[in-house]
Symmetry: C2
Subunit: 168 residues, 2 copies
């Protein structure tokens, strides 16, 4: 683990070696497994999957969002999203209200039961995140977020920042 005694050249770009980059790549792979493990487990019994979790998350985050918005956010086709939404609506977790200004639009909201499930899912995911944050400490967390943000596509970063700006 120790970072090799460094040939030194002022700024020391050792963190940009292929070795270091590869470790970062593998860390992303394994960490993402842990990241999704808890919600996956919770949804296992409920005949739902990760796609449902993502929809629930973003509907919770942006209540009243439209189907188009959600499509762009999740990066899937309307057909794919529609299948998920249909299941969520049938299960009584999500409500699709016809838009008042534009009645073609469907504004999506969580029902009380949907909100309960959302809380269960995000509690589990947050708990793992909290443990990781606590272990790593505030400085590490700041770096964590900086690197992730720099790794995003421009479009994703735009969406991420729009969400973050809303209440964070």
């Amino acid at each position: 683990m120790a970072e090799a005694p460094a040939p030194q050249g002022g700024s020391s770009l050792l963190f940009l070696t292929d070795e270091q980059l590869r470790k970062g790549i593998e860390a992303m792979f394994f960490a993402y497994r842990g990241f999704t493990a808890d919600p996956d487990r919770i949804l296992e019994g409920r005949e739902m999957g990760r796609a449902h979790h993502r929809a629930i998350h973003f509907i919770h985050r942006s209540p009243g969002t439209t189907v188009s918005n959600l499509m762009a956010l999740l990066g899937v086709t309307k057909q794919s999203l529609n299948r998920v939404l249909r299941a969520l609506i049938a299960a009584g977790l999500v409500e699709a209200r016809v838009g008042r200004r534009d009645r073609r639009e469907r504004h999506l909201h969580l029902t009380e039961e949907g909100a309960r499930l959302e809380r269960e899912l995000s509690d589990a995911q947050r708990e793992r995140m909290r443990a990781a944050y606590r272990t790593a400490g505030p400085v590490a967390v700041a770096g964590f977020r900086q690197v992730l943000e720099a790794m995003m596509d421009d479009e994703s970063r735009r969406q991420y920042e729009a969400l973050a700006g809303r209440s964070g």
Copy 2:
């Protein structure tokens, strides 16, 4: 939602608020998209997908690894893995050599062409990672890796560290 305006107590645990955790969660979601985007694009034409990329990556990392090893590393069943390996072998990218000590085992190696594809894929992924690292800087990168490692399941962390120890 917000954890109350910080009672303050020296160490400031503001980075553990639900808000901060949620931002971390969303950052992971969007960043992972970017993380996989480049290899996905490359493999698109080749009638291969992310599963093939993962297999190629770990065969490159651990030349001569067995099917069982790879199964454990990727966290998939042998049937799932077999489908991928069959395609890779048929495409002349991977070679399965019968074990010398134990001839039940198949030891997996990249062919020259497999190694070429591996390089193409990892170059693309590393390039994005490098850009992100460079933007964020060495301190951020250290934090990034710390948080990711803390986020892994124990089993994943074990595997990650076994890989890292091998040459990093």
